[in-house]
Symmetry: D2
Subunit: 363 residues, 4 copies
Amino acid sequence: MTANTIGQNFRVTTFGESHGGAVGCIIDGCPAGILIDSAEIEKELKRRATGQSKITSQRKEVDKVEILSGAFEGRTLGTPLTLLVKNKDAKSSDYEYLKDKYRPSHADFTYNQKYGRRAWTGGGRASARETTARVMAGVIAKKILKNICDIEILTYVIQVGEERANIELDEITYEKIESNIIRCPEEESSRKMIKLIEEVKREGDSVGGVIECVIKNIPSGLGEPVFDKLSADLAHACMSIPATKGFEIGSGFEGAKMKGSEHNDSFCISRGNISTKTNYSGGIQGGISNGQNIILRIAFKPTSTILKTQETVNESGEEILLDNVRGRHDPCVVPRAVPIVESMILITLIDHHMRNVAQNNLF
Amino acid sequence: MTANTIGQNFRVTTFGESHGGAVGCIIDGCPAGILIDSAEIEKELKRRATGQSKITSQRKEVDKVEILSGAFEGRTLGTPLTLLVKNKDAKSSDYEYLKDKYRPSHADFTYNQKYGRRAWTGGGRASARETTARVMAGVIAKKILKNICDIEILTYVIQVGEERANIELDEITYEKIESNIIRCPEEESSRKMIKLIEEVKREGDSVGGVIECVIKNIPSGLGEPVFDKLSADLAHACMSIPATKGFEIGSGFEGAKMKGSEHNDSFCISRGNISTKTNYSGGIQGGISNGQNIILRIAFKPTSTILKTQETVNESGEEILLDNVRGRHDPCVVPRAVPIVESMILITLIDHHMRNVAQNNLF
Amino acid sequence: MTANTIGQNFRVTTFGESHGGAVGCIIDGCPAGILIDSAEIEKELKRRATGQSKITSQRKEVDKVEILSGAFEGRTLGTPLTLLVKNKDAKSSDYEYLKDKYRPSHADFTYNQKYGRRAWTGGGRASARETTARVMAGVIAKKILKNICDIEILTYVIQVGEERANIELDEITYEKIESNIIRCPEEESSRKMIKLIEEVKREGDSVGGVIECVIKNIPSGLGEPVFDKLSADLAHACMSIPATKGFEIGSGFEGAKMKGSEHNDSFCISRGNISTKTNYSGGIQGGISNGQNIILRIAFKPTSTILKTQETVNESGEEILLDNVRGRHDPCVVPRAVPIVESMILITLIDHHMRNVAQNNLF
Amino acid sequence: MTANTIGQNFRVTTFGESHGGAVGCIIDGCPAGILIDSAEIEKELKRRATGQSKITSQRKEVDKVEILSGAFEGRTLGTPLTLLVKNKDAKSSDYEYLKDKYRPSHADFTYNQKYGRRAWTGGGRASARETTARVMAGVIAKKILKNICDIEILTYVIQVGEERANIELDEITYEKIESNIIRCPEEESSRKMIKLIEEVKREGDSVGGVIECVIKNIPSGLGEPVFDKLSADLAHACMSIPATKGFEIGSGFEGAKMKGSEHNDSFCISRGNISTKTNYSGGIQGGISNGQNIILRIAFKPTSTILKTQETVNESGEEILLDNVRGRHDPCVVPRAVPIVESMILITLIDHHMRNVAQNNLF
């Protein structure tokens, strides 16, 4: 797995800086014959876009998808599928004042340490703008998976700051998730979360949160036994999203408190199939999917960009004060991160399905 | 990254089942000229071995390291370094009664679903026995890193069940960690943890725990910006360890509760160098190391093997009761998992260093 | 190495079909700080372009390079460098008559067998149009190599049909190669080759040829001992060029006729350095460069597109006659293939240099 | 593809030096359920072994295969399959006189340049001893392919020195190939070849040769369109064999002399299937197999080890004379190289089949 590529058989490479010409992805290994439609991809991009509600950055992104290669007469060819969205012309001068300053908890300093230079116009490659490319690839991954199994993926916000929702797994629907701007399927919590974000926004501050994802109807047998456990690769995929600080599968950190006699998922027969009575494993045992729901959670830190004055240093090594004069930022990343998390999971699942087929469906 | 291989430039492939001929690893990409010594590797293997204390499995492993290739006159050659330990002759008949039964929360069922067969003699490839190979590779990784930087890595248990230690980062030493059988550097907590494990063991039950790791004196610039963020690759490496359920870096899930103004790590000048006042980032920003301490935590579930009667099903799809008649198991995996976690981190770090050098140290 | 990517540390992925939106490449792993200039790349593309002389296809390509990502203020950033050239609007209707026919020795049939569909408008992904992307990547590879060593690469035509030039290695210069439209540094042969191609063109036929390449001033130590021998990777890179049928290094197939006492390259001391008296090895011994000139040759078949009536079958499995009504084709690919060969070699060399540095320049 | 690994889905890693503990291979990605039998592998190893006839090295190798992991109850498990043969105890002292000398056209010098050291006892990793591991992997590859298609692979010597056999493709059988010690299916030529090798041997010299391989009944659709063309990957695999200097597919270098109207393989209908009238393509078009016979040739240089006095230099940079006092060497490598070539081709084919299935057999 290379730096800007994820996957072994379904290989997604992203490219682009926030203020360069475009951001996009190449999918190498995409099966031929998949219907492809810019409008369908653009619809999903709107879930990730800025300006979608009062609690996201107010910058207006209108992402128009170009299919540059790999499709013909509306279907994929099997050759590299290149999808991109052009970046709007942004005035570099807006960022001029940041040119030589290291914003706290941003990647300015580490990029300079690694490469000796950086695109200082708005985050460059480290900008969340890059995740647009991931969402485009996620749409394709989902379309392929829909041809293979009856996969259902539900991704939602369960926590903002200290506000944690009480979620009943069986009652979540896509409609409930999308019914509010924070994407929390539990109504009362969603209201509290939105209120909290509005407060934080007023203060020019930001707040963190947690996203949970449940994947249903996934075949058993996905995942490789040792280093490429499905759980390990999902952790890798999710922790590659900007601003992530933690990953849990099934019981997660709570599981560390439990006893084996409580935590073990007893096998049973349910409607003629082997099932488990509980699902502390989160659908993965020994790194391989067991056919139960996959459940995972990802922690996001508060957005690094805030409108308060902060202490930092500049490239000359002087301690300075930094005033962020840009008026637009995301006070909390989680509502927009929902489709990104979903995409990373879908990309990981289709890749593992292909790997499984290559080894185990030969005869 | 392939199924049984981890790393891109420092590529560790492990092989072996718990009751096959041997378990071992091949390191491809290992620099030439590294001093190599079986005794040094065996010493580290003892930290992972069963039978090391009253709170681990009482099975006696005495692992003797064979260097099968890649070394000559006591130093590595640059060619694939193959290290292995033979498995002791185990009586397959001990496991005969498990042959067609799916142990709850073990990998028996998922391996059968994936491959249509499994080595039913004691866990096969899914056994923690495989991690012996990782520890051998970790010793080599550490030796190379010691030539590059003054790396210090401190890995220890911070939680067993509900018992959480209060750790002062600055006071931890390797000696304190190794001063007790649970490997917790805080004395009072260590006593409570050991007591808890002894209780659990008496009940024939098991309990989970959390390991924390601090890595000091790592150069900045390690990690790739997008999918192969150092944090993502550390998550992948750590979540590939058996029994893991969660991973956190820096502030982790607690960070989700915080505000940006609290969480942002202000840059400052300390003894002439750019440093940060706080370290909620856990030493990694934008996926790249910033030279501060890397701090991470990993949650382990309670061991799946318990001595209590459990409900399950067999290969014929019948619901049955399972009595584990083997008298030996690990009531808690964390003390033995410490060197495994350490090895996975060291392997990840040296690989990222090599990747960084390949791209950024050419001229 | 994935289907549309070559290289491990300097990873070039190409994308695009001949009549899709664009063809281009992403270079992942490109060092930061390399000066990048569209005009410089476009200059090299002219060596590959159609319409450059009376012996190439008369279709007029004017390739304008767009740098879509990975550069900032005229230098590379270390992030994925995306370069592309748009395809000119081509009328699909020109190819309509080929839609369901399998052109002999083209990839129409095999693409359909593999993917169940193909872009029938002019070759699609199998078109030599894709090699435009390789030449762009080759320019970048060369610039990086020039920073590392005093590399000189001389690539030229030594054979067209039965006409073989007698080349004195020491007398070849870039200027002599570029002094004629066939790119053969030996003047008399070049005239005969051009005459032969003109004859073949008049007949609506095509002819094959051989390209030779000499690379000077390459450091020793490049190449991996076993599967990734420098010679094996050069063979892979060169044989990935459309229309190639053979590859030789050093003595090549002639070497099979020789005795060891003739073929062995005796080491000697020349100007204080270890050198060899002869160079039948072609600069590579045991898969690793020895510092002598690397010499290789590649055989190209005659262009498959000819203007004569041919027997073939269509998608319905009927035997038919095919008349190629397009008046433009390359009667011989070798003059335009020179920069493509060069690019594949340069990409291979920089990748191996990076791999070598990653393992062997750590301390 | 890493240095000591070949393949993407069927990944073969070899390890071992000629005078280390063992040479062996790990196959990662091997399907489960394949019958595995040491005796079957050992039988194939005898075709590669020294001491098999008067025209090979007289050193007696008796290779006993150990299956170290990945098999259980006589069948593969799907986990890494580790196969090895121990090296016989060799007296290092036999090689002491070579310790600081660079043998002409051997890898002594290049290994030292790359790694700063080498195993000077008999070639180390550069020894053809490593190919034992390839042949073991080839046996497994063949067994899997036999489950997928009715593959027939015929590999034989067509040239030794200037002596070239006239082979009728349709008349070759495995029995004819194995009927003589040179492995040339044409009887008269085989006698001349053997005579030539005996002469060369008497002189203490060596001679080169050419191996041809025909693969029948391979499915169409194998091979990736761009860099991983089946032809390019076969070139890579074959040119990774020690002592190779050239590779041809189909018409090869002769194809460069031909016209398109001669060389194009007209499609036709034969017994209801799409076939071609000629096969200058060698079974591969646009990098993808077309279902016709794959035909390729590989040139081998004369063995570098000869018993004549040669000029060379030592590690101190002094010009010296080298007398090879060892009485045993292979006067010509081609008879023993036949199973090695076959193995590399089989490994490449099964890997490409898996890659094809992963992308194109999902629904």
